[in-house]
């Protein structure tokens, strides 16, 4: 690694830390200004109980003090606090439980989507306007435009209720098959289309024609030149996609009763579980920032002409 690259990475890491701090700060203050609090319920607790609860969880302190205390706890103790709703459980505990499942699901789905997407996209590009290309394009257009709740529901009805091949809840390994397929279909279709257009673009370039003219075998042209260069746009997509997909999907988790982090994220917001909102937001923000950083560095690996100046 040259010094320019090292300097670039250091700069980007600092920027990433700054970005996450901004996210923390904005989220912290915005969530406290949203009307409603964590202890509101249809049956309101008495004023004394509410005050006692606020005192217990330090919500009675001035907002800025709460903010500085929070930052201090994260930085010095890696302590994200207790959940206000799930009494007795810590935010770290809840997130690590949910992330375990979501990451497993997300990584398998992302890996499958990337592999299938690149393979299908390449086949479509190389067999342009042939039947196989048409078929791939029709199917991918359908999956790109179909929201996951429709795909999920169709899979559920077919494979869980009608044919009873897979269970309808994600508490077992078999139960994770349908959610993985549901999660993977959209990115597979997207990557297929991306790879196809990008590869078609590359295949039309002068250097490909030159390589072919020089008698390079078509296998080498495709794998040695065309595929490598057509992956840059795919990389741009895969990085953030990975961050989103491993942090859980509410829709898929609800349809298949998967114990992932997506539900915790949404429920924390609707229930005003402040520490859990912060915890899940920080995880998501950090992952996205990190994946963007890795993607940018990978550009350089794929295409050495890209400069970090």
């Amino acid at each position: 690694m040259d010094s320019k690259t090292a300097l670039y990475i250091v700069k980007r890491v600092l920027l990433a830390v700054f970005t996450v701090w901004v996210v923390i700060t904005v989220t912290f203050f915005v969530m406290h200004f949203v009307p409603g609090g964590p202890f509101d319920s249809e049956k309101a607790p008495s004023a004394a109980i509410k005050a006692a609860m606020e005192k217990k969880f330090n919500l009675d302190k001035p907002l800025f003090t709460q903010y500085t205390d929070y930052l201090k706890d994260i930085v010095t103790k890696f302590d994200f606090g207790p959940s206000l709703k799930k009494r007795g459980r810590t935010v770290v505990d809840i997130i690590s439980d949910g992330m375990g499942t979501s990451a497993k699901l997300g990584l398998i789905a992302a890996a499958a989507a990337t592999v299938c997407g690149i393979v299908l996209g390449s086949i479509a590009a190389l067999r342009r306007n042939k039947i196989i290309d048409r078929v791939i394009m029709i199917i991918t257009t359908a999956f790109v435009s179909m929201p996951s709740f429709i795909i999920g529901s169709i899979l559920l009805i077919l494979f869980s209720i009608k044919y009873k091949v897979f269970p309808a809840n994600g508490s077992t390994a078999e139960g994770l098959v349908l959610p993985i397929i549901t999660l993977a279909l959209y990115p597979t279709a997207y990557i297929t289309r991306l790879t196809r257009s990008s590869m078609l673009d590359v295949l039309g370039q002068d250097y490909i024609r030159t390589a072919k003219a020089k008698g390079v075998s078509s296998k080498n042209v495709i794998f040695g030149h065309a595929l490598k260069n057509s992956l840059i746009p795919v990389l741009t997509y895969v990085g953030p996609m990975l961050a989103y997909i491993v942090t859980g999907s509410l829709v898929v988790e609800k349809i298949f009763a998967v114990p992932g982090i997506g539900r915790a994220f949404v429920n924390s917001i609707t229930g005003r579980d402040y520490p859990l909102i912060m915890g899940t937001t920080i995880i998501l923000a950090t992952l996205i920032v990190l994946m963007n950083l890795i993607t940018d560095i990978l550009y350089k690996v794929v295409d050495p002409r890209i400069s970090f100046d």
Partner: protein, 607 residues
């Protein structure tokens, strides 16, 4: 580069396989004669008996703990409260100061799941803990009937206890004897003893704040023990062979799956994995009722779905000359008239579709009166129908005409269009939900038919609660479920200082409105006021009810309180709630109680 791509691909594929294979070792959903898989809701916030305030949590706790009393079903199917950890449910002894003391003996043979013996002190400790400000439990107020509660929960504005050493009047006389003193006699005391907040916990166990989140630290004394808890996925209970009543328990294993999605629950029911589900998709109710006549159930649940009016919202036409008491009485009359425009049968049959019953009173169906009859059947002013107005379909037209006649007294009526032209526009506030929206839209259409314009505003749950509580609305969707079988839990929420007083009685401008009367002289009290404020009447009435020890008088006063509430017109009852669930016909021995708790210990499953 070629190598990098190849390695990445290989790695991705291997990882996928690895994950799938490692995951494959886990167990599958099973159903056998002595095991049952069910789903009530998503993961409970807590299964600490003192902190739980949810119905699904209460069901879990009813299997995990034995309180002094429990709900039981006799051979004829009738529900009753019977002794559990107590030898018998004794009668109270009235003391000179009006307080009542009960002395219970703990039955022999009860043990905690870690082998230690259950003692009377475990109850005394648990109750002191659950009522304390330090724990700040939602249901701490369930102990307000016990002498000393007021002192325990008295706090300054910052939430600090004013009497940190105060205790409830409950003590363990010895290992087996528990003595508790109530502020006054109440009819529902035995039922409270069966309530999860009253279950025992052991001091050394709950010293660990996270004790109730992990099977390793979860020590209980009930018919079941917590075997495993995969968070957000499944909670498994195993029969406790050491329980004194273990012989009666037929179900060895209960798996409580955790899902908050009605469609998902239904899919798991339809493919036979889950044998009971506690939620069904609203838009499928009609189909399910037809397709599963023996497996679709709707049973009464003690609760009322209603619309509440902000008492401080002026609904008189612009330029109205009415003021003070006259204005308040006019508003009450108008609100009651508008309520008659709603066809409750249409709402329950065409929109809610869950077997709900049209409501004509606020205190719900299912609560008993002093003489053991249903409280709601003894309300209202007419012998021709039950409640405060006639909800039958035959009365639809006469209700409508009566409403129009009343409104004509206050608003301009255009005979050509048959609409009122100067009824102030209102906004209907509801929390985001297709069901609430549909009901709101129907009410909107019913009002529009006579020229009352009402727009709709939906808010997300916590924002909605906040808006309603602050009184920033004109008319809002509301609902209330009972905690125990006594009408007071529907009536004490409307006192001026109550945190649930969304109508804003006795608050803001209404604080000074002297439009109410209260006469208790016929009941032997010297309270008699006329043209007084809400605080001087309703609040006084409720506190008199709470300190009254004569059951007949107490119920009479509760009817008076509901009369006052309904006369104000601020509560527009829509329907009485029902509890919908689906139960496989393979299961027998199941029962549920009116609070919605479900009992699986005596179940058997046919193969």
């Amino acid at each position: 580069m070629k190598r990098i791509v190849a390695i990445t691909l290989a790695l991705a594929i291997t990882l996928s396989l690895l994950f799938t294979l490692t995951a494959c070792g886990k167990k599958k959903t099973t159903a056998s004669a002595t095991s049952i898989a069910v789903c009530l809701a998503s993961e409970p916030d807590t299964i600490d008996p003192a902190l739980n305030s949810a119905v699904d949590g209460a069901t879990l706790l009813a299997h995990l703990f034995s309180g002094l009393a429990k709900w039981s079903q006799d051979d004829s199917g009738k529900l009753q409260i019977v002794p559990d950890a107590a030898k018998e449910l004794v009668k109270g002894v009235e003391n000179e100061d009006g307080t009542v003391t009960y002395t219970y003996t703990i039955r022999d043979g009860f043990k905690w799941s870690d082998g230690k013996a259950l003692t009377a002190n475990d109850f005394a400790f648990a109750w002191q803990r659950a009522a304390s400000l330090e724990l700040a439990a939602d249901y701490g107020y369930m102990f307000e009937v016990i002498d000393g509660y007021d002192k325990v929960t008295e706090a300054d504005d910052e939430g600090n206890a004013i009497n940190p050493d105060a205790k409830l009047n409950v003590e363990a006389v010895d290992e087996k004897t528990l003595k508790v003193t109530l502020a006054n006699a109440i009819s529902y005391w035995d039922e409270l003893l069966a309530f999860p907040t009253y279950y025992p916990v052991r001091e050394d166990v709950v010293a660990n704040e996270s004790w109730a989140t992990d099977p390793k630290t979860y020590v209980s004394n009930g018919m079941y023990t917590l075997d495993s808890w995969e968070h957000d996925s499944v909670i498994t209970l195993k029969k406790n062979p050491d329980h004194p009543d273990a012989d009666e328990v037929t179900m060895d294993t209960i798996e409580f799956y955790l899902s908050d999605d009605a469609n998902n629950q239904l899919a798991n029911f339809q493919n036979g994995d889950w044998l009971l589900i506690d939620d069904v998709p609203t838009d499928e109710i009609a189909t399910l009722k037809a397709d599963y006549p023996d497996e679709f159930f709707n049973v009464g649940q003690i609760g009322t779905y209603y619309v509440c009016w902000n008492v401080n919202e002026d609904i008189l036409p612009k330029g109205s000359t009415l003021t003070g008491v006259e204005a308040e009485n006019a508003r009450a009359e108008i609100r009651n008239a508008v309520s008659l425009l709603i066809d409750r049968n249409y709402i329950v049959n065409e929109i809610a579709q869950g077997g709900q019953l049209p409501a004509s009173s606020f205190v719900a169906m299912g609560l008993t009166d002093a003489d053991g009859t249903e409280f709601y059947k003894n309300t209202g002013y007419s012998d021709k129908f039950v409640g405060y107005f006639d909800t039958s379909e035959d009365a639809l037209e006469s209700n409508f005409n009566a409403a129009v006649e009343v409104l004509k007294k206050y608003y301009t009526y255009d005979e050509a269009t048959k609409k009122f032209t100067d009824f102030p526009a209102m906004t209907y506030l509801y929390n985001t939900s297709e069901g609430h929206k549909a009901i709101g839209e129907y009410i909107q259409a019913a009002f529009a038919a006579v020229g009352i314009n009402m727009s709709m505003e939906n808010q997300e749950w916590n924002t909605f609660l906040n808006t309603r509580k602050k009184g920033d609305y004109s008319i809002a969707r509301n609902g209330w479920l009972a905690d125990y079988n006594d009408p007071i839990c529907f009536l004490d929420m409307w006192t001026s200082g109550s945190g649930n007083n969304d109508i804003q009685f006795g608050k803001g401008a209404h604080e000074k409105v002297a439009a109410y009367s209260l006469d208790l002289t016929s009941l032997g009290y010297d309270t008699k006021v006329e043209n007084a404020t809400w605080a001087e009447t309703y609040d006084v009435l409720i506190s008199t009810i709470k300190s009254c020890t004569d059951t007949a008088k107490r119920y009479k006063m509760m009817h008076m309180a509901e009369d006052m509430l309904m006369k104000s017109g601020c509560v527009t009852p829509i329907y009485y709630y029902t509890d919908l669930y689906m139960l496989s016909s393979k299961v027998s021995g199941f029962f549920s109680n009116p609070l919605g708790y479900k009992y699986f210990m005596y179940c058997t499953v046919k193969d």
